[in-house]
């Protein structure tokens, strides 16, 4: 690997804390230059700890990593010069304006004095913050803060960008705006993006490849489509009209495949013959005298991948309404 490289190579990365279990437990991964890598996992899985190590803010207990061709243990300053980082809490000064943030960041990043104002304004404009540039950040919305955070991360034209849960807490439209910008950076500017998220949809939409982390270990890795194809079969979720028939319904469904996760008032099956089995399922339910209130067919999602790999569903604590992606198992409304 040369110093011009803008990929990430991680080998056996470990981080222990004095209290609690091992936060990161031997992670190996590699991110190709210009790739968007989605690091997906629930709260406390070790995502942020990994990012802190890769960005040189936390020394690893064991293992190593090279970021943009530089060793994170021995060449911290070179790593920092090559990377842009937006950490989980958009760490901004509520008393300063957007433009003052850019001025401070461009100066500290060593942008030549003549170019500072122009570089700051260019990024503020690109992030849609030109009108708000003179206002104090304390009055910004969550989405504006994240965009300013991203603008600050870009002032020195980094080759690798780390985004730690960049859209947590954002409304759906702010989220898609940020996705567009991140995708543009990777596609047009060739920036490598390492992104942590607890949102399946974010990983699915944005990432070229996804690594699923659970309890400090990487449990699956691949392109979202590849991972979903590994799971393969669609799931059928059925809500009986009479809730008392739920168990009988589940028995019938299990003739067509293995049981899948479903809300308490419904039953679901992962169809072993795929969609071909649908007609047979309906006939079997009819024969068993089970009236159907609702049924939904779900194509395999990253949620299913996550469930298959970890035995758990990825549900984060905050804002369940906002993060429910279109393809995840949702509770159907009983008619």
């Amino acid at each position: 690997m040369t110093s011009d490289d803008n990929g990430i190579e991680v080998g056996g990365l470990v981080r222990d804390f004095k209290k609690g279990p091992r936060a990161v437990d031997g992670i190996d991964l590699s991110v190709a230059p210009g790739e968007i890598y989605g690091f997906l996992g629930p709260n406390g899985a070790g995502k942020s700890t990994t990012v802190l190590m890769l960005t040189t803010l936390l020394p690893p207990t064991d293992g190593t990593a090279r970021v943009a061709g530089h060793d994170i243990r021995r060449e911290g300053a070179r790593v920092r010069a090559a990377i842009g980082v937006a950490l989980q809490e958009a760490a901004l000064d509520p008393l300063l304006t957007g433009r003052e943030h850019m001025r401070l960041q461009t100066a500290l990043q060593g942008v030549p004095r003549r170019e500072r104002a122009a570089r700051g304004d260019e990024l503020l404009t690109r992030m849609g913050l030109a009108d708000a540039a003179g206002r104090r950040v304390g009055g910004y919305s969550g989405g504006m803060k994240r965009r300013l955070d991203l603008a600050l991360a870009l002032v020195h034209r980094p080759r690798v960008l780390f985004l730690d849960e960049p859209t947590t807490g954002l409304d759906p439209s702010s989220r898609s705006e940020l996705w567009r910008e991140v995708a543009r950076l990777a596609r047009e500017d060739g920036v490598t993006v390492f992104l942590t998220t607890q949102y399946l949809e974010e990983a699915d939409v944005l990432a070229d490849r996804v690594g699923i982390i659970e309890a400090g270990r990487l449990v699956a890795e691949g392109a979202p489509e590849t991972l979903k194809a590994q799971i393969g079969r669609p799931a059928l979720e059925v809500v009986p009209r009479d809730a008392l028939q739920r168990d009988a319904l589940a028995e019938v469904l299990e003739r067509f495949g293995s049981a899948a996760a479903a809300p308490p008032h419904a039953a679901a099956v992962r169809l072993s013959r795929g969609n071909d089995a649908l007609a047979d399922v309906v006939r079997a339910l009819d024969a068993a005298g089970i009236a159907i209130a609702d049924f939904q067919l779900h194509a395999p999602s990253l949620d299913d991948v996550f469930l298959a790999k970890t035995g758990k569903q990825l549900v984060s604590g905050e804002e369940p309404d906002e993060q429910a992606p279109a393809d995840r198992v949702t509770e159907p409304v009983a008619s």
Binding site: L57, V79, R80, I83, L87, G110
Partner: protein, 262 residues
């Protein structure tokens, strides 16, 4: 740490500028710094003027005598302002943002302290102007005013660096504010209100004699009421320099623990 871009001076200037901007945008930091010392000066001068009648009292004007108290209070506010701002940077993660730039660690501390000193200088000018309007005289004249500001800034730096140490060590603005009363008590248990020789209670006189704050107060006060007093100035400058050195070293160490970069 290479590649380092930008000079230390540039980084310090940028961070000092930020510190000053922050202070002036928080009325809760500016108003107490400027008004409380003046308020207490007015109250003390009105209430304690009779003290000047005591045999051995070094001045026939209590307001001349009490000016040192105002400068000391200003220094205490420098402590709170420096500590609170750095603690907020720890709490908000702004410190991590700064740590990811090629900024030198020292620049953060020096920038913050320089910003607080600038505000402290301005506050000092206001105390002195208000004092002069109220009839204060500086027996050491213009040269004394210059030395006064040098000493007041060094004392401000000493307290601000202690504040910075507390803010960085504990990473909590509440912790900094929690220490404030402790230092305020130290000020009251010094010779700030009466010359040590005139303190009647033995215990109080003993405490005031051992309390280093007394010598800071006496150094400033000598310029207003006594004249050029080499011993008072040497003690004032010396103790302030020692505290500042300890405070800056402690704060630098606490910052090093907060910002561990590879």
């Amino acid at each position: 740490m290479s590649p380092t871009t930008g000079t230390l001076g540039l980084q310090v200037a940028q961070l000092a500028r930020r510190s000053v901007l922050r202070t002036f945008r928080q009325p809760a930091q500016v108003v107490p710094t400027v008004l409380f010392p003046l308020f207490l000066l007015a109250v003390n001068t009105a209430g304690l003027e009779a003290a000047t009648e005591l045999p051995g009292f070094p001045s026939d004007s209590y307001v001349d005598f009490a000016m040192a108290f105002a400068f000391m209070q200003g220094a205490l506010f420098s402590m709170v302002n420096a500590g609170t701002d750095l603690a907020r940077d720890v709490e908000s993660g702004f410190l991590q943002r700064l740590a990811l730039t090629p900024m030198r660690r020292a620049a953060l501390l020096l920038g913050q302290l320089a910003g607080v000193m600038a505000v402290s200088l301005l506050a000092g000018v206001i105390y002195l102007l208000v004092g002069l309007v109220a009839g204060v005289t500086v027996v050491t004249g213009v040269g004394g005013v210059a030395v006064l500001f040098a000493l007041a800034l060094l004392i401000g730096l000493a307290f601000a660096s202690l504040g910075a140490f507390i803010g960085l060590r504990f990473g909590s603005a509440e912790a900094v504010q929690g220490f404030f009363p402790l230092f305020f008590v130290l000020l009251f248990l010094s010779s700030a209100s009466l010359p040590r020789e005139l303190i009647e209670q033995d215990w109080f006189r003993t405490v005031a004699t051992w309390n280093p704050v007394s010598y800071l107060v006496e150094g400033i006060r000598s310029l207003f009421v006594i004249g050029w007093d080499g011993e008072a100035l040497a003690l004032g400058f010396g103790i302030a320099a020692l505290v500042a050195a300890a405070g800056v070293a402690g704060a630098a160490r606490a910052l090093g623990t907060r910002v561990v970069r590879g």
